[in-house]
C-alpha cells in the first residue's frame, strides 16, 4: 500500500479536506453566528472578523429576547430541561423493560419469541404518525395529554426496539457455557443474570443506551403532536423560535447551538460505542 504516487496523495488530501468542510461547515457557521450581533451577521459580504459576544447566550439563558418589537420572553431553558427529563427517563424505562426482555429473547427460544421480537422491531419502522394521531385522541380521554408520563411512554417507541435488538445481539454473543457453569455452582437464574450476563453485555447495553438517548433527544414529531409549549423539548421549541418573527438571528443560532451541543459532546466522548451501536451489530469490529 506504500507505492502511492504523490499525485494520489494530494488528491486524497483534497478529498478529505472537502469532506470535512462539507460536513463541519454548517456547525461551524452556526457557532460563529451565535457569537455575533445582528449588525455583524447582516453585513454584506459576510466576514469572519468580528468581536465575539456572549450576549445571545445570556439572552437565551435569561429568557428575555430582543426582537424588532421590543423584549420578548421565551423560556428556552424550559425546553432544554424538558429534553433532559424526557430523554433520561425514556432511556431509563427502556433499559428497565428492554434488557430483561432482550435476555429472554437471546437465551430462551420460547413459543412465538421470534414473532414477538419482530413485532417489536417493526415498531421502529412503522410511520410514527400512524400511532401518534389516534393516540392524541386517546391521550385526551386518559388524561395523559401533555404529561411527561404520556410522552415517556410514547418515547418507548424509539428507545425500546433499539435497546431490545442491540442488547439481544450482545447476549447472544455470550457463550451460554459460562452462565451454565455458574448455575451448576448453585446460583439461581437471577444471580447468573446479574453477575455474569449483565457485566459481559455491559458495553452493548451502554452503546444501546447512548444511542437511545441521542435518538430520544433528537426526536421531533412525538412532542410536536403530543406536547404543548410547556412540555416541548428543544427540537420543537427551536422551530417556534425561528417562526416567531423578528427574533435576532444570533439568538436563534445560540438556541440551536445549545440544543445540539449535548448530543455532539456525548458523541465525541463515546464515539467508539456509538459506531458499534450504529452498525446495528451487523458487523463486529
Amino acid at each position: 500500500m506504500d507505492h502511492r504516487s504523490a499525485l494520489e496523495r494530494i488528491l486524497r488530501a483534497i478529498a478529505l479536506t472537502a469532506i470535512v468542510v462539507f460536513f463541519m461547515f454548517p456547525i461551524f457557521w452556526i457557532v460563529l453566528m451565535s457569537l455575533q450581533t445582528n449588525e455583524t451577521i447582516l453585513r454584506s459580504p459576510p466576514s469572519m472578523s468580528f468581536v465575539p459576544t456572549l450576549k445571545n447566550y445570556a439572552a437565551i439563558i435569561s429568557g428575555e429576547l430582543d426582537s424588532n418589537a421590543g423584549t420578548m420572553s421565551i423560556h428556552f431553558m424550559n425546553n432544554l430541561l424538558n429534553s433532559i427529563l424526557l430523554s433520561v427517563f425514556s432511556v431509563a424505562l427502556a433499559l428497565l423493560l428492554g434488557v430483561p426482555a432482550a435476555y429472554a429473547f437471546a437465551r430462551h427460544k420460547f413459543r412465538g419469541s421470534e414473532d414477538i421480537a419482530f413485532t417489536l422491531l417493526s415498531f421502529r419502522f412503522a410511520p410514527p404518525l400512524l400511532v401518534l394521531l389516534p393516540l392524541t385522541l386517546y391521550f385526551q380521554a386518559l388524561g395523559l395529554a401533555n404529561t411527561y408520563l404520556g410522552l415517556v411512554w410514547v418515547y418507548q417507541l424509539i428507545c425500546l426496539p433499539l435497546i431490545l435488538w442491540i442488547v439481544r445481539g450482545y447476549f447472544e454473543d455470550i457463550s451460554p457455557d459460562i452462565e451454565h457453569a455458574y448455575r451448576i455452582a448453585g446460583h439461581g437464574w437471577f444471580a447468573t443474570f446479574r453477575k455474569i450476563a449483565l457485566p459481559l453485555a455491559g458495553p452493548g447495553i451502554a452503546a444501546a443506551g447512548l444511542l437511545a438517548f441521542i435518538f430520544a433527544w433528537n426526536n421531533f414529531v412525538f412532542a410536536l403532536v403530543l406536547a404543548s409549549a410547556d412540555k416541548q423539548p428543544v427540537t420543537v421549541g427551536a422551530l417556534a423560535f425561528v417562526t416567531a418573527s423578528g427574533i435576532q438571528y444570533g439568538q436563534i443560532a445560540a438556541a440551536i447551538v445549545m440544543s445540539i451541543a449535548p448530543t455532539l459532546l456525548l458523541a465525541l466522548w463515546a464515539q467508539r460505542y456509538l459506531v458499534e451501536g450504529l452498525s446495528l451489530g451487523a458487523v463486529k469490529g
Binding site: I27, G188, W189, I252, L264
Partner: protein, 307 residues
C-alpha cells in the same frame, strides 16, 4: 438464528418457573407495546371511516372509500411521487457519497480516524435542527449559502422558498445528516472483509479499479443492501426535515406522506383521509422492513460465522 437451547434442567428451579420465566421477563416490554398497538388498530378503523373533526354529525363507516378516492385524487399521486423521488434521490446520493468516503477512510490512520469522528457530528444533530441550521444558511438576507450562490452568478437562488429548488434544498439537508450513517456501516463492512483476495489480486497485477469492481463491490454488497434498505425505510417516512424547512411547501411541492397526513389531521381535520394515507405508507414500509430484517439477520450470521 443461533439462539441457544434452554438452560438444562437445574435442581433449584421448578419446571413451571422455567417455562414461564422468558414470558415474565418480556411481559413488561410487551405490555408497553400493546398500548402502542391499540392506536394502530384504531388507525385502521379510522381509515375506513368518513371522519372529519369539523363535521362530527357526518361521521360513519364508508369502508374502502378513502382508499378508492386516492385513484382519482391528484394530491395523493403527488404525495406518492414526491415521497418516492425524495427517498430514491436521498438514498442514491448518500450511498454513492458514503461508499466513496468509506473507501477513502478504509486504512486506519490518525487522519482517517479524525475525519470519521468529525463525520459523526451531522448524524448526531437532530434532523429538525439541521433543517433550521440550513434555513438560516439559506436566508436571502444573510445566509452564507445564498451568498455563495451569488458568487457563482445565481442572483435569485431562493432555495427552499422556490418550487424549483425546494426539493434540492431538503435533499441537501438529508444528505448532510445521513451520509455519515451509510459511511459508518460501509466502513465497518470494508474493514471486516478478508484480505486474501486483495493480496492475490495485487500479486497478479490486477489494477486497483478492477479490484474495486470485481472484488470489493461484490463482497461489500450485503452491507450496501442493508444500509440502503435501512435508509430507504427512514427516508420514505421523512417528516422532521421537510416539516421544519417548509411544512410541505411551497404549494404542495414537498408534500410527502407524513407531512400530508399531519396537515390533513390537524389543519383540514380530515381524519379518515389522513389515516388512509398513513396505512398506505405503512404497507410500503412493512414490505420493505421484511426484506430488511431478513437481509440483516443473514448479515449478522455471516459476521458471526466469519469471526
Amino acid at each position: 438464528m443461533s439462539v441457544q437451547a434452554d438452560m438444562p434442567v437445574l435442581r433449584r428451579s421448578s419446571r413451571l418457573s422455567r417455562t414461564l420465566l422468558p414470558y415474565l421477563l418480556s411481559l413488561p416490554a410487551l405490555l408497553v407495546c400493546i398500548g402502542i398497538l391499540i392506536p394502530f388498530v384504531t388507525a385502521i378503523y379510522y381509515s375506513l371511516q368518513r371522519y372529519r373533526m369539523s363535521q362530527p354529525w357526518n361521521r360513519g363507516m364508508n369502508w374502502g372509500e378513502n382508499y378508492l378516492n386516492f385513484f382519482t385524487d391528484p394530491g395523493f399521486w403527488n404525495t406518492l411521487k414526491v415521497s418516492l423521488v425524495y427517498a430514491g434521490l436521498t438514498v442514491g446520493i448518500e450511498l454513492v457519497l458514503g461508499l466513496a468516503i468509506a473507501l477513502l477512510l478504509q486504512r486506519r490512520s490518525r487522519v482517517n480516524n479524525f475525519v470519521s469522528i468529525m463525520l459523526l457530528m451531522p448524524l448526531m444533530t437532530a434532523p429538525a435542527l439541521a433543517a433550521l441550521m440550513f434555513k438560516l444558511m439559506t436566508n436571502p438576507n444573510f445566509g452564507i449559502l445564498s451568498y455563495f450562490m451569488q458568487l457563482l452568478g445565481f442572483h435569485d437562488f431562493r432555495w427552499a422558498s422556490s418550487p424549483n429548488t425546494a426539493l434540492l434544498t431538503v435533499i441537501l439537508v438529508d444528505v448532510w445528516v445521513y451520509t455519515p450513517f451509510i459511511m459508518i456501516l460501509l466502513l465497518a463492512g470494508l474493514r471486516s472483509l478478508p484480505t486474501q483476495p486483495f493480496e492475490a489480486a495485487a500479486l497478479d497485477g490486477v489494477p486497483r479499479f478492477e479490484q474495486f469492481w470485481r472484488i470489493t463491490l461484490p463482497m461489500l454488497s450485503p452491507y450496501i443492501l442493508t444500509a440502503a434498505l435501512f435508509r430507504l425505510l427512514d427516508s420514505i417516512q421523512q417528516f422532521d426535515i421537510i416539516y421544519a424547512m417548509t411544512q410541505g411547501g411551497p404549494g404542495n411541492r414537498l408534500m410527502v406522506f407524513q407531512v400530508e397526513a399531519y396537515l390533513n389531521f390537524f389543519q383540514s381535520t380530515n381524519v379518515g383521509r389522513s389515516a388512509a394515507l398513513l396505512m398506505i405508507l405503512w404497507a410500503i414500509t412493512y414490505a420493505l422492513s421484511n426484506v430488511f430484517v431478513k437481509n440483516w439477520l443473514r448479515l449478522r450470521e455471516r459476521a458471526k460465522g466469519g469471526a
